[in-house]
């Protein structure tokens, strides 16, 4: 289990990550979702022990990454945003070097390298120089490196960027398979990818956590309501009246004019979608309005994402006051930060 407690990172006066806490359970795929510049890579770099945190704590299998880095890092495989490959090495040579770095015993080395190469389908390029490989292959070589030694936790920073659609599906399937005996933290700014692969998602924007939940729960979060689409032919006013007054309809969100006397109504529902749908259908037919199409759909996850990202962070009054104080007195924050880093340097 990885526990992240009150993790904070400042770059000078810029706050990249603000006091975030969450846990990664065993055998779980956790999606880390946020727009560009949200603090995803910074957080992952901190979890992997590459960047020191300004404040907070990361514990991997009971060992603190800043206090017992060697022990903690043994359980980690990390694929950074840019695959960390040496352009002048051959693929096999590179993986052999990484296996040495991860202290894989010599006897297991070649079988382990063979395993990851087969898993990521890079066996056919094993004797090529990495600089001659395409972006997708480089990405997979970097991924193979993270899998060496079968670490318990995998941190993958945008692993599918730069891959073609077929490779994206392959990599997603690999990640899903990894769930059997690994935990994966997996960052992306593409929502569909996260919803296809992950059990839980952490949504982050500008360093703040906006939500930590399962995909299903997030879908429910838009009010848990379905959206009804009806395309009718007939009187617009009558139809609008019927739909609006029907039980379970929250509101008509939109009316599109499709053609002569043809309109599309989009309405938000509350409660049992099928019953409402039947009820509305009956009433419309009684009033001689033709229905050419009627269906309900789940709210768009993209909408949830955008809504969460734009939402203001929930903060207590004191924290808000503190933030305002910092905005007004940027010096106060800066000097505090400097003494902080100075102290840490002294400690080393």
């Amino acid at each position: 289990m990885i526990t992240i407690e009150n993790l904070t990172k400042y770059y000078g006066n810029n706050r990249a990550v603000n006091n975030i806490s969450f846990t990664i359970n065993d055998n779980e795929i956790l999606g880390f979702l946020g727009p560009n510049g949200a603090g995803k890579s910074t957080t992952m770099n901190m979890i992997a022990g590459f960047l020191p945190m300004t404040a907070g704590k990361v514990t991997i299998c009971g060992s603190d990454i800043s206090k017992e880095p060697v022990k903690a890092k043994k359980n980690l495989g990390y694929l950074p945003e840019i695959p960390p490959v040496y352009p002048d090495m051959r693929v096999r040579e590179y993986l052999s070097f990484c296996a040495g770095l991860k202290r894989i015993p010599v006897t297991k080395k070649s079988s382990e390298i063979k395993r990851v190469m087969e898993l990521l389908k890079i066996t056919d390029v094993k004797d090529k120089l990495i600089k001659n490989l395409s972006k997708g292959y480089k990405q997979r070589v970097g991924f193979a490196q993270a899998l060496l030694g079968n670490p318990k936790f995998l941190i993958l920073d945008e692993p599918t960027v730069g891959l073609d659609p077929k490779q994206v599906t392959e990599v997603r399937n690999i990640i899903k398979d990894l769930k059997k005996d690994h935990s994966v933290i997996f960052s992306s700014h593409i929502l569909s990818e996260v919803s296809a692969v992950c059990d839980r998602v952490v949504i982050i924007n500008k360093g703040d956590i906006k939500a930590i939940d399962t995909i299903e729960n997030l879908e429910k979060q838009t009010g848990g309501s379905l959206i009804l689409h009806i395309i009718i032919k007939g009187s617009r006013a009558v139809a609008a009246d019927i739909i609006e007054t029907a039980d379970g309809v929250k509101e008509i969100t939109k009316i599109n004019v499709e053609g002569d006397d043809t309109y599309e109504f989009i309405a938000q529902l509350e409660g049992d979608g099928d019953a409402i749908k039947n009820d509305i259908m009956m009433k419309l037919l009684k009033n001689n309005i033709q229905i050419s199409e009627i269906f309900t759909e789940k709210p768009d996850l993209e909408a949830v994402f955008v809504k969460l990202i734009n939402s203001k962070p929930e903060k207590s009054g004191i924290l808000e006051l503190f933030d305002e104080y910092i905005k007004e007195n940027p010096d106060a924050e800066g000097s505090a930060d400097e003494t902080d880093t100075a102290e840490k340097e002294d400690n080393e």
């Binding site: 770059y11 000078g12 810029n14 990249a16 770099n45 992997a48 022990g49 590459f50 960047l51 020191p52 880095p69 060697v70 022990k71 890092k73 043994k74 980690l76 990390y78 950074p80 840019i82 695959p83 960390p84 490959v85 040496y86 352009p87 002048d88 090495m89 040579e93 070097f97 990484c98 040495g100 770095l101 991860k102 202290r103 490196q145 880093t341 840490k344 340097e345 080393e348």
Partner: protein
């Protein structure tokens, strides 16, 4: 640590890099060796390997930065620093592994130059004690310069810049004793002795005369340790300051 050492050695020896640097070193060595051994213009014939070493050391300024420039600069440039830092190794092991790899290439250069004394010994006579001491001094001086070059390589992302800065710093260190001896500095004895303490050349002079003094060995080894510790600090500092 061993895997980093091995990888760095591979990057020297599986590419023409180490061979070209060594060839250049041998070329310069031959240049001075021939000039010196064939010189009969003086009234008394005088040749010693220590003198050849003296001249060759100036070439260190060009050779050693080329050897060390990529050590950390390239790791940063290719983003592979992340790989090293997130693997179960501590920074000390990374630095020592890389230092030993650089030293090994340097030893390869030195070993190839043994060719000259061996031939001289076959055809003539070589003062062995002096030769061994000169080699020891030469090695220690080179080891110190490698530590300096490696430190400078950790300051920057560009290996060319690391080489140029390294050349400047090594140039200063090579001629610091001449600087300390200038009349201007001699006005202030305290400053003169302080500056002179950094000079490596007078210390090498003892080695080349066949003396092994503890204070000289301590000077070179402590300089190496200071540079490597500073190297560690510079890498850690960059992690803290990143952004």
């Amino acid at each position: 640590m061993f895997s980093i050492y091995k990888k760095d050695l591979q990057s020297f020896f599986f590419t023409p890099f180490a061979y070209i640097v060594t060839a250049l070193f041998l070329f310069l060595f031959t240049f001075y060796f021939n000039g010196s051994i064939g010189d009969q213009s003086q009234a008394t014939y005088f040749f010693s390997f220590a003198n050849v070493f003296y001249n060759v050391i100036i070439m260190f300024i060009f050779l050693i930065p080329i050897l060390t420039m990529r050590t950390f600069a390239d790791e940063r440039k290719f983003g592979t620093e992340v790989l090293l830092m997130t693997s179960p190794l501590n920074v000390v092991q990374i630095i020592i592994g890389k230092y030993l790899a650089n030293i090994t290439v340097f030893l390869f250069m030195l070993a190839s130059s043994l060719f000259f004394p061996i031939f001289t010994a076959i055809k003539g006579e070589v003062v062995m004690s002096q030769l061994i001491c000169a080699y020891l001094g030469f090695f220690l001086w080179g080891a110190m310069y490698i530590a300096i070059g490696q430190l400078i390589s950790s300051f920057t992302e560009s290996s060319i810049l690391a080489a140029i800065i390294g050349e400047i710093v090594m140039f200063v260190f090579l001629f610091i004793d001449d600087f300390a001896m200038t009349k201007f500095i001699a006005q202030y004895p305290a400053i003169q002795s302080a500056v002179y303490a950094f000079a490596a050349q007078p210390r090498f002079a003892y080695f080349s005369q066949g003396f092994i003094r503890l204070s000289d060995i301590v000077f070179f080894i402590s300089a190496i340790i200071v540079c490597l510790v500073w190297n560690y600090i510079s890498i850690e500092k960059r992690r803290w300051n990143r952004g």
